[in-house]
Symmetry: C2
């Protein structure tokens, strides 16, 4: 595979793709929803609420952490895993800006 993904595109494109990719799996969406509903940051309720093994959840959480959507203080026993407000806000802006960039002025001009 000659083309190396990350070097061929600019920073914005890579950043956007990175966040979107993290959201690109239903399990990860479900995990985020659990974290949203959770007032306290107590964790591992995730494992109970989802039909996935603990190792799998942990893996998904890592992806979400890498994307900056989640942060976690791994204080064993008093575990803490929650949404990263800064990262979330940034993701919202990045995604929002991109989606807003297209205004459907061409609705009637385009294709059929």
């Amino acid at each position: 595979m000659p083309i190396t993904k990350t070097t061929s595109f600019n920073q914005k494109q890579n950043a956007l793709a990175h966040v979107a990719k993290a959201l690109g799996h239903p399990a990860r969406i479900a995990i985020l929803q659990v974290l949203m509903e959770q007032e306290t940051c107590v964790c591992n309720d995730i494992v109970m609420q989802l039909p996935l093994a603990q190792a799998t959840i942990s893996q998904h959480l890592k992806v979400l952490k890498d994307a900056g959507l989640v942060k976690g203080e791994i204080a064993p026993n008093k575990s803490c895993y929650c949404i990263n407000p800064e990262g979330w806000k940034l993701a919202k802006v990045i995604l929002g800006d991109f989606m807003e960039a297209y205004e459907d002025q061409a609705t009637d001009l385009c294709c059929d």
Copy 2:
């Protein structure tokens, strides 16, 4: 892999993940940006503007079509590939709703 992704999660979660996944690759972002800048729907400028083979672009376009973000009338010669206004709007809502669902009320409560 016992758990079959699509059956274990609800419709909304799958729909969201599906769109996000389509956005989860820099090449696809770049393709959409080309389509956004393109007033006319003339295509294959994409192939010229990106460092990817035609077959690869075509594959990415298929992913974007499946996600409803792009539509294409394959009228040979007078080709037409453009952003799908309806699908785009829907994606914007789906993504937007999800990202808005989290308000950072817990910024100070959470973790550290």
